[in-house]
Symmetry: C2
């Protein structure tokens, strides 16, 4: 992001007007388009609003922009030649298309983090830099040679990675499969996208957990699906609810995150798993199992995936490196019947022509390497340590104002607020104080919840972050 140079002899406002003129002439802001407001631009560039007002005045005097009260500042049309020319109405195109934008809260959080990289981040559902195996990846890359063809890869994924995952799934997840049933994706996100786009049709009914990560994804609505809720309690969903949803709405698929569920941290109980398999096989209903967190289990063995007990073939299994290695790798996988893998691989070829071979080969080497197991053990200990820090801070700062169940794995803590506050206001108050979290309503549940990702902030930020959050919360409760 460009910023004006405070050492330069050229006045700030002139640097800004030159910069804007350049961006306008490059077509970034076409004739007729709206510029950011003075307030917003001032914030982005880290200058006083009066400086931006002067820069705008400069551009206005050159006939490059026009302001009308109430409708903001726009790039002039007249400047661009005498002929009656028309730039495409780009903003109409940007609003067109049937694919829905992200939720406003999610966009607000991303915007805040972009603008203020120093915010303490309890919002991004990922590991902090020190938890990722960056050194191991660097070492593996340094040893690497590209002797083979760097051409279009098989859209189902790089074969050596599929082979490595077959052993990994057997060893770590108790899943027996073969490389032809494994498909590599750009993370669980793309697995979910492919399933909703290619296996379901607009109007189809599906069931998702409540609360659930899936609610935060407008892609379900973009695909025209009708969503029905399966309330999650301490032991996960109630399989009987699936049966009644099926009777009423003929649901076509169930989406679940059985182990250390996002956002609640719940593990689906053994008892209910049996009921689930029963219901699924009676109804011939496919279950999508999203399983990114199990290997983070803090103590004892990782909970098993449903897929490892799937004697009837009801489960589409989704895994990912994002939560156990690094989200920036963008490597996930699916285990599915052959006909499904073929269909999804064919479709994805048209969407992005498959993944880059480079991260796929790095990932294959990493899980086969002697680094992998020690990395997992270290990760579990460090995550547990961060969880404990978060809990200590919450107990110290907000003993009377929050309630939660201690998660035994995963990256998140799901926290009930004991006083009613407005989600959006709480977020803004928190951002003002230098901390972000995700409001619970994003996950489809009632307001009054907050998701804290303890994995993401640095260790030393956790206590400070919660103390800032506590200030924000108290400010709203008092007022």
């Amino acid at each position: 992001m460009w910023k004006p140079d405070r050492q330069s002899k050229k006045p700030l406002y002139e640097q800004i007007s030159d910069h804007l003129e350049r961006r306008i002439s490059y077509g970034e802001f076409p004739p007729g388009s709206l510029l950011p407001s003075e307030r917003k631009l001032a914030e982005q560039l880290g200058v006083n609003r009066s400086t931006v007002i002067m820069a705008f005045a400069e551009l206005r005097s050159m006939g490059i922009i026009e302001s009308r009260t109430g409708s903001g500042t726009r790039v002039s049309r007249t400047k661009w030649g005498a002929m009656p020319k028309h730039t495409p109405n780009w903003s109409r195109y940007a609003e067109g298309g049937s694919f829905l934008p992200n939720l406003p809260f999610m966009r607000r959080i991303r915007e805040a983090l972009n603008q203020h990289p120093s915010l303490i981040d309890f919002a991004s559902g990922e590991l902090s830099a020190d938890l990722a195996p960056s050194d191991e990846i660097t070492t593996l890359m340094n040893e690497h040679r590209y002797t083979s063809h760097l051409g279009y890869d098989n859209p189902q994924g790089y074969i050596p990675l599929r082979q490595a995952l077959v052993s990994y799934l057997d060893k770590y997840r108790g899943i027996q499969t073969t490389e032809s049933s494994v498909m590599i994706t750009s993370g669980s996100q793309q697995s979910l996208y492919l399933i909703t786009q290619c296996l379901l049709s607009p109007g189809d009914a599906v069931a998702i957990e409540d609360p659930s990560y899936c609610y935060s994804l407008p892609m379900f609505q973009s695909a025209g699906l009708r969503l029905f809720r399966l309330p999650v309690d301490q032991h996960g969903i109630c399989p009987e609810d699936i049966r009644s949803l099926y009777k009423k709405h003929r649901i076509k698929m169930v989406f679940m995150n059985p182990n250390f569920q996002n956002p609640t941290g719940t593990v689906f109980s053994i008892e209910r798993r049996k009921q689930l398999f029963d219901v699924a096989s009676k109804l011939g209903l496919p279950i999508v199992e999203d399983d990114p967190f199990s290997l983070t289990a803090f103590e004892g063995a990782a909970p098993k995936p449903l897929k490892s007990m799937d004697s009837n073939g009801s489960i589409l299994y989704i895994g990912s490196f994002s939560k156990i290695a690094a989200s920036g790798l963008r490597i996930g996988w699916m285990v599915a019947p052959h006909s499904i893998v073929e269909r999804l691989a064919d479709a994805r070829q048209q969407m992005d022509f498959g993944l880059s071979v480079i991260p796929q080969s790095v990932a294959a080497q990493f899980i086969k390497s002697s680094y992998f197991h020690p990395h997992l053990e270290r990760l579990q200990i460090q995550l547990q340590f961060k969880r404990d820090l978060l809990i200590e801070s919450l107990q110290k700062e907000l003993p009377d104002l929050v309630k939660f169940i201690t998660p035994q794995g995963g990256l998140h803590l799901w926290c009930k607020l004991l006083h009613e506050v407005h989600d959006g206001k709480l977020l803004e108050e928190a951002i003002k104080r230098g901390v972000v979290f995700v409001p619970g309503s994003v996950y489809g549940s009632d307001s009054g919840f907050v998701r804290f990702t303890f994995a993401r902030p640095k260790t030393e930020e956790i206590a400070v972050g919660i103390s800032r959050f506590a200030e924000a919360l108290r400010a709203l409760i008092v007022s």
Copy 2:
């Protein structure tokens, strides 16, 4: 792909029945699903059909599979417990969804190449291994350190790569832009996908060149677009045709590949470019410029992109590394007004959460490195050499049967067949003789054309490949 072990003491048919039993029990072929035919399996495993027949008999005797005449061999339902259980009807799911599968010819070619990796490949639109900068990429990766956070990246793309592309676009393509107008994608393929999904709505009319790469992409139909044709002659499309399509159908966007067009190799003439800008600005119509080939220009300067002359802001510009470096990198880019970039980045976050940071950072280093320019020069010379080999072979083998215009850049030669032959039959005859190409009808044009990609086969394969193709063609003309 698993193959039986011919050294083993265990008979082949037993190895095969064990292997199939394993795949069935892992859920790859769920109860009730269809197995590949005996003929197909025999071909895949490289054994006699009789061996597969024996393996099937073995599985049948164990009650694992059932065959019924005329309806193939299926996995038994009964084997899987006495209870009335239902596996999801996976094949119905695989056929569901509104996203269309690839064209049959394209799937046939992919299948043939998977089954017989030794086929001489004039079909895949990419560089051969020796033309890609694999050594350079290996060196850059070996020097690399991941000190920064390997977390979820900005969905608009890795900032250092966007910065590197701003200089690249200025230096090599005469395009002035800023990093906030550049978006990184998984190749031109994903750029086209995002545009069709997010900026257009079902029912919208768009214009594409005829013939065109776009016809080979069912994604245009999957997005519900109505396609209208702009015939391409020696100088490209006629801009007046756009005006009349607009009048009749209110087309909302035009897709073009002005430089060394795929498949024809045509360069859009200067004369007509002026007319195009005139029409586009009069109508306020956006033009998508797909520009993957220009830097391959064999002699003289690379033709300029439309975007470099786009004073009115009508062009959405798409670039890619696939045709000038390596398609397996999966790195492409778009230059677009800010509102469009923001919209597409937001949508793509839901689709795949952005690209892996690793190939993005390798790509950034590569274009900034001193390797880049020499690589381009070497590539141009080698491509021209391969083109000349192809032309020589065609003139030697089929002087009386084909006609073509010599392309001055790009990876392809578009070849008219002077006798009428059936597209599908010609392809099968060619595959039988060990060579593949893409039938012209895939690009939406009349049959009677063939696209040969001279970049893809090894140098020493070109003459052999064309001699096999000539045999295939003559076999059909004689009979």
